[in-house]
């Protein structure tokens, strides 16, 4: 596999748990504490295959991150994590270009499954 996934989440323990869970599936994980850091990592690393981002983060929210990536013409698939399952937020995330939306609380295994599916979908469309 060896696909690169960027995990942007402000809560350190959760970030680490997501990292460890996804590493178990053989992905290479990069992490960021907030949207700013995520942008930095993305500009430095070319071959990121997927971004998993929380919505509520300091300095730059997940939704801002998604819209900035869109304006940068980055076509990296994004999975948005949020504790706000408000319809408006979900729709906004999809409108901005998110590929999937996971509501907290979530099961790490569910996240892993969705990551796998999104990567497969993107792989199929690019082929």
């Amino acid at each position: 596999m060896g696909m690169k996934i960027l995990v942007a989440e402000d809560e350190p323990l959760l970030r680490r748990l997501i990292q460890i869970r996804l590493e178990k599936d053989g992905y290479e994980i990069l992490t960021a504490k907030n949207g700013h850091e995520a942008i930095e990592v993305i500009t430095k690393t070319d071959d990121i295959d997927l971004i998993v981002t929380d919505i509520l983060m300091p300095f730059m929210t997940g939704l801002e991150l998604v819209s900035i990536l869109k304006s940068m013409n980055k076509t990296i698939p994004i999975i948005v994590l949020s504790s706000m399952s408000v319809e408006k937020t979900v729709l906004e995330a999809f409108r901005l270009g998110a590929n999937d939306f996971i509501t907290k609380p979530f099961s790490p295994n569910e996240l892993a499954a969705r990551v796998k599916r999104v990567l497969e979908e993107v792989g199929n469309t690019t082929k």
């Binding site: 809560e11 350190p12 323990l13 959760l14 680490r16 748990l17 460890i20 869970r21 178990k24 504790s83 907290k104 609380p105 979530f106 099961s107 790490p108 295994n109």
Partner: protein, 611 residues
């Protein structure tokens, strides 16, 4: 032991700290430098020698002595200050440094020379005698004119104790008339030097009065000296000890010096404290990093354990390896209260974000680390903010065993605390989530109402049955809450109950009921409101008019038009608003009515009771 912070490590950290904080240290050093400079300026020895320096350009026919008397300093002091000796040439135009001023002459144990005025003596004569000028004597004695009275004692000059100037001798240096620019005093200076050496013994004895016979007649001059042992300072002008320094130094200067010392001390202490704190912080940060790594790996290992038998997931036991890690973690970190709290916060955050088996395992860890007792202890704490923290933890970890304790706090006098307890109770309940409000006897704010509704809506399958019981509560704010809930949750079935609340004695309850009734429209409401209108207070009447505006039909338009003319401005405004709210009412008609009201303001209008 793992991760031991050794002394060497501490020093390394301190070094790193200093390296990182170069800017900060630079600031401290600059401040210290400026302050020491300030302090040194205030030091007595420098004050003595440096502050009062003057410059003098030697004029024609001026001698070293005339200059010395002009500035009331000794010749030797001038020579010393200018790195000259008595054989040096003092040419016209030469710039001399005059080392000291008049007051310090007296201060440093110099002798004041007095002269008692004899008959026929003039200022000029006396000045010539003492090698000074009439003006100088006038200044020294603050005289107003040239007239002198016989017998008056005048200050004519100062005599240095260390190097005594001749008094009766030819004090005026012989001046060599020279047509050239330079007035050479070299020869005469040597002569004077000899004389000075001859008379060089300082006066000894205490407050001695010297009577010296003047060869010209009955003129006397008194010389009062202060004995050297009275002077608290040594020859260099420094105080012999700190006691003398504080005793003789002038008060403002003393305050300044003490202030400067205290200031420097404070700066040094602050710098030390800041450095220590920062070093400790670095050590803490280091320990925190160790904690994070250990904790994260431990939690991950426990959460992501693959169990062969998933059926016993709720009573799962830790593996031998996990148990060992847990024990080590507890020993290393959980003996420190700070890390216990961090562990609680982190686990709660993850518990909120994860679901299913992962969440259950997080909960298990919370119990395994015995953090649940920390939370329960907080609720018992005497400090309200600690209690609030405990309540939040109870709510977030769903600790149902603490329900009773939290329930006991819903009427706490501290508003923050009781609101927090109410929210926790709401989310801990399994059914009839709002029934705890039946027991509420403290007021419920609109803000808390919003919080409760928001919290309720997050609960899956929330249960809002039996709101009628809340309508019967003796607490009016709970009645208002229930009425608004009926509106928020669109409970049309409960409208008769709300109508019943129109008979409630409390105005807030009535107003809330009218508002809710205007949302949950019912034909019977308007009749009830109209019949109640006459006996109601102004506020309730206004609310009823608003109701008519929102829900009313044309048949009540006439009533509103009449009320616009009411002598009560509030009722009149409410009627205007209501008319504006009525969709059928064109705006120009309203304006017309308003115009007619202003023109017929004196016209008698029906009282509210007549409607």
């Amino acid at each position: 032991m793992r991760n031991n912070t050794t002394l060497k490590g501490k020093f390394y950290l301190l070094y790193k700290q200093i390296e990182c904080r170069k800017g900060f240290l630079k600031g401290v050093f600059i401040a210290a430098f400026i302050l020491s400079l300030l302090f040194s300026l205030l030091h007595p020895s420098i004050v003595k020698g440096g502050v009062a320096l003057k410059k003098h350009k030697v004029a024609r026919k001026e001698t070293l002595y005339s200059i010395s008397t002009k500035y009331h300093v000794s010749v030797s002091e001038i020579l010393k200050a200018n790195n000259l000796n008595l054989s040096s040439k003092i040419d016209t135009g030469l710039l001399l440094i005059i080392p000291s001023t008049q007051p310090s002459n007296v201060d440093r144990g110099n002798t004041i020379i007095y002269h008692t005025v004899a008959k026929k003596e003039t200022l000029f004569k006396i000045a010539t005698k003492y090698g000074t000028t009439p003006n100088n004597i006038i200044q020294l004695n603050k005289l107003t004119g040239n007239n002198l009275e016989v017998g008056v004692t005048l200050i004519v000059g100062y005599k240095n104790n260390q190097i005594t100037q001749p008094l009766n001798e030819a004090v005026v240096l012989p001046q060599k008339d020279n047509t050239g620019d330079g007035n050479s005093v070299s020869n005469t200076a040597t002569e004077v030097a000899d004389k000075i050496v001859g008379l060089g013994e300082p006066d000894k004895g205490k407050n001695r009065q010297v009577e010296e016979k003047d060869p010209n007649g009955g003129r006397t001059h008194e010389v009062k000296t202060r004995a050297p042992q009275d002077d608290p300072r040594n020859k260099k002008g420094e105080y012999r000890n700190l006691g003398d320094y504080f005793k003789y130094s002038s008060l403002p200067l003393l305050i300044l010096r003490i202030g400067a010392i205290l200031f420097i001390l404070a700066i040094v202490i602050i710098a030390v404290v800041i450095l220590t704190m920062r070093t400790n912080k670095t050590i803490d940060d280091n320990k925190k990093q160790q904690f994070d790594k250990f904790f994260q790996d431990l939690v991950a290992q426990i959460i992501f354990t693959d169990k062969e038998n998933e059926t016993d997931e709720f009573e799962e036991e830790f593996t031998h390896e996990q148990a060992k890690l847990i024990e080590e973690f507890e020993r290393e970190f959980l003996t420190i209260p700070f890390f216990r709290q961090v562990a609680i916060d982190r686990l709660i955050e993850v518990y909120k974000s994860l679901s299913g088996l992962a969440a259950k395992r997080v909960e298990n860890l919370y119990y395994e680390f015995d953090l649940v007792n920390d939370t329960l202890r907080k609720i018992k704490s005497a400090r309200w903010e600690e209690k609030v923290r405990g309540i939040r933890e109870v709510e977030q970890m769903h600790l149902r065993q603490a329900y009773k304790q939290v329930y006991g706090l819903i009427n706490h006098p501290n508003e923050m605390l009781r609101y927090e307890a109410q929210l926790a109770v709401l989310s801990l309940r399994r059914a009839r989530h709002l029934s705890f409000l039946e027991k509420l006897d403290t007021p419920l704010s609109a803000w808390q109402h919003m919080n409760l509704v928001a919290k309720l809506k997050k609960i899956p399958n929330y249960d809002v049955r039996n709101l009628n019981k809340l309508l019967d509560s003796p607490n009016p704010s709970v009645n208002v809450f229930a009425i608004r809930m009926i509106q928020d949750f669109n409970m049309v079935k409960n409208v008769p109950e709300v109508q019943r609340m129109l008979d409630h004695p409390n105005e807030d309850v009535k107003v809330a009921a009218i508002k809710t009734l205007s949302y949950l429209h019912n034909d019977k409401s308007i009749l009830k409101l109209l019949s109640a209108y006459p006996g109601e207070s102004e506020r309730v009447q206004s609310e009823i008019l608003k109701y008519i505006g929102v829900t009313g039909s044309g048949e009540h338009g006439g009533m509103l038009r009449q009320l616009i003319g009411s002598s009560n401005t509030n009722i009149s405004h409410a009627a205007q608003e209501a008319l504006a709210l009525m969709s059928y009412q064109p705006l120009d008609e309203l304006n017309l009515l308003l115009d007619s009201k202003t023109t017929e303001s004196t016209k008698a209008l029906p009282e509210s009771g007549n409607i």
